[in-house]
Amino acid sequence: MWKDKAMRLLMVSAASTSIFLVALIFIFLVKEAAPFVLTPGLRALLDRQWIPVSFVQEHFGILPLVTGSALVTGLSMLFTIPLSVLGAIYIAEIANPVEREILKPFIELLASIPSVVLGFFGLVVLAPLIKALFGLGTGLTALTGAFLLTLMAIPTVITLSEDAIMSVPRAYKDASQALGASDLQTIFRVIIPAALPGIIAAIMLGVGRVIGETMAVLMVTGNSALMSWSPLAPVRTMTATIAAEMGEVSFGSIHYQALFWIGLVLLAVTFILNIIAQRVLVRYGMMK
C-alpha cells in the first residue's frame, strides 16, 4: 500500500514541478522589476523612446519595442495563416497517404532548425534579396524578420490545424457528400467551419511562438527602436532588446529593471494568448 502512495507522491511532484518553476520564474521577474515602480515610476515605460545608454537623458519607453514586436508578428501571421491553413487542409483532406508521409516529416523538420541558423540564412540570403526587390538601402527590415518568423511558425500552425481538421467527425463529410456537395464545397463549407476553433487556437499558439522568438529577429531586423508601421523600416523587438542588452547591463540599475519589465510584458502576452487558445479549444469541445 505504501508503495502506491509513494509512487503517487512521486508522480504528483513530477507533474507539479513545471508549475512550480513557472511560478518561481514569475516571482523572480516581478522581484527584479519591482523597484522601477518607485523610481522612475511606471510612466517612464510609456515613453515613446528607448534610449537606455545616454549621456544626456536615458529613456526607457517600451512602446517602440511593443510596436516593433507587434509589427513583425502581425506581418509574419499575414504570411503564416494562409500558407499553414491551406497546407493543413491539403495534408488532412486531399493528400494521399504517400504524399502525407513525405510532407509531414519535412514540415516537422522545419521546426527543428535552430533559429540562429535561420537568422544566418536571413542575414546572408534573405536580406540582400529584400534589399534588391524593394530597392532599399539595406535589407535589415521588419519584413525580413517576418519572413523568417513565418518559417518558424508554420510547423506549429500546420500541425495543430491539421489535428483540428482531422478531428472533424467523419460523418460530417459523409453527410455533406451524400447531399451532393463537391469535395471543395465540403472542405470550405463543412469541414473548415467545424474545425475553425481548432485552427484559431493553432494560430494563437503560432503567434505565441513568434512573439517570443529572439535570435533570428535580432539578426535581421536592424534593431532600431523606431515607432513605425512600415514593413520596410527597421524595428527592435522586445525579445531582441532583452537579448542584446541583458548581458552587460549593471545589475539592479534602472536599465536592468526596465529589461525585466519587458520580460513581464512578454510573459503576460504569451500567457494571455495561450489561455485564449485553450479556452477556444475547450469551449468548442476540441480539448477536454
Binding site: S54, F55, K131, T138, L140, S224, A244, E245
Partner: protein, 298 residues
C-alpha cells in the same frame, strides 16, 4: 591563422573545463578570490572581455603559452562590460576592456575589496568605414557627429550623392559604442534610426553590402576588410588635413578617433597573471600588437 587561433582557444576552453571538473572536489573556498589558478601543477588563467580585443588577446595567449608551457590561457569575448562584471564577480583573472572602468564599477570593486589594477596595453584607432561605391572622400569630426546623431540624413549634406545615409552602430552593450558616443558624438544620443548590429563583422558585412551605409569599427577589423569596405580619412577640425587611421597617425595623435585598450587585473592575483601582463607589455607582446593591426603603446 584565425582558424588556428579559434581551434586553440576552443582546445584551451575544453582543457580548462576538464581541469575544473577533475578538481571540482578540490579547494572550493579559495576559488572565489583566485579563480581556477591553483589547479594542480597545470596553471590556468582566463582573459575575458572586449570583443574588439579578442583578436589581440588570443594572439598573446597563443604566444604566451609557447613561452610558458606550464600555463594555460583561455580567452573569451562578450564585451568590455561583461569582462568587467566577470572580474568583479571573480570569474575571470584578467579583464580586457576597450574603455576605462567607470565610476559605478569602481565603487563595486571597492565594495568587493578588489584591488583593480589598470594596464594600458595597446591603442586602437576607430576607423570610419563606408561602401567602396560611395564617392565621399573625407569627413570632419563635426560631420561624423551630425551623421550619427541624425542631423545629416543624406549623403549630399556632406558633398556626396543624393542617397539616404544608413547609420550602423554596435549594440549599446559595446565598449566601442560608449567610447564613440562620448568622444565623437560629444555625449549626444545616436539617431534613433541607427541600426544596431551585434558584432563588428555584422557591421563590416552590412557596409560592404549597402551603398549608403556608414559605420565605425576597430582599425584592425577595417584593415582586414580592406577589400570590401572603404576607410575614410578624418579631419579633426574643418581646416585640418584629413588623416587616415594607421600605425603612425594614431601613435602620433594625428588621427582623432583613437583610444587606449586596457587589461584589468586584481592586484592580489597569482604570479601567472602578472607574467601574462608583463608579457603583453614586453617587446615581444607589443610586436604582436602591431602584427594584429592595433597600435603599440611603446
Amino acid at each position: 591563422m584565425i582558424m588556428k587561433i579559434k581551434r586553440l582557444v576552443t582546445g584551451v576552453a575544453v582543457l580548462l573545463l576538464l581541469l575544473q571538473v577533475s578538481c571540482d572536489s578540490g579547494p572550493k573556498e579559495s576559488s572565489k578570490s583566485q579563480p581556477v589558478s591553483k589547479a594542480g601543477s597545470q596553471k590556468a588563467i582566463s582573459v575575458k572581455g572586449s570583443d574588439t580585443m579578442v583578436h589581440l588577446t588570443s594572439s598573446w595567449a597563443e604566444q604566451f603559452m609557447g613561452h610558458y608551457p606550464g600555463t594555460q590561457v583561455s580567452v573569451t569575448g562578450g564585451g568590455s562590460g561583461t569582462g568587467i562584471a566577470a572580474l568583479l564577480n571573480g570569474t575571470t583573472d584578467i579583464c580586457a576592456s576597450s574603455r576605462e572602468i567607470q565610476g559605478k564599477e569602481k565603487e563595486l570593486a571597492l565594495q568587493k575589496k578588489i584591488d583593480l589594477v589598470e594596464h594600458a596595453v595597446a591603442r586602437d584607432g576607430l576607423a570610419i568605414i563606408v561602401n567602396p561605391a560611395n564617392p565621399v572622400a573625407e569627413l570632419s569630426l563635426e560631420q561624423i557627429r551630425k551623421i550619427f546623431t541624425g542631423e545629416y540624413a543624406n549623403w549630399k549634406d556632406v558633398g556626396g550623392p543624393d542617397l539616404p545615409i544608413i547609420v550602423l552602430s554596435r549594440e549599446s552593450s559595446s565598449g566601442t559604442f560608449v567610447f564613440f558616443q562620448e568622444f565623437v558624438l560629444n555625449k549626444a544620443d545616436y539617431t534613433p534610426k541607427a541600426r544596431l548590429l551585434a558584432g563588428t563583422s555584422a557591421l563590416v558585412q552590412s557596409v560592404a553590402a549597402d551603398q549608403g551605409a556608414i559605420a565605425y569599427v576597430g582599425l584592425a577589423f577595417a584593415l582586414d576588410a580592406k577589400a570590401t569596405v572603404k576607410m575614410l580619412p578624418v579631419k579633426s577640425t574643418d581646416g585640418a588635413p584629413a588623416v587616415l587611421p594607421g600605425d603612425e597617425t594614431v601613435r602620433a595623435g594625428k588621427y582623432p578617433i583613437a583610444r587606449p585598450l586596457y587589461l584589468y587585473t586584481n592586484g592580489s592575483s597569482s604570479p601567472e597573471v602578472k607574467a601574462f601582463v608583463d608579457f603583453c607589455l614586453s617587446d615581444a607582446g607589443q610586436k604582436i600588437v602591431t602584427e594584429t593591426g592595433y597600435i603599440s603603446v611603446k
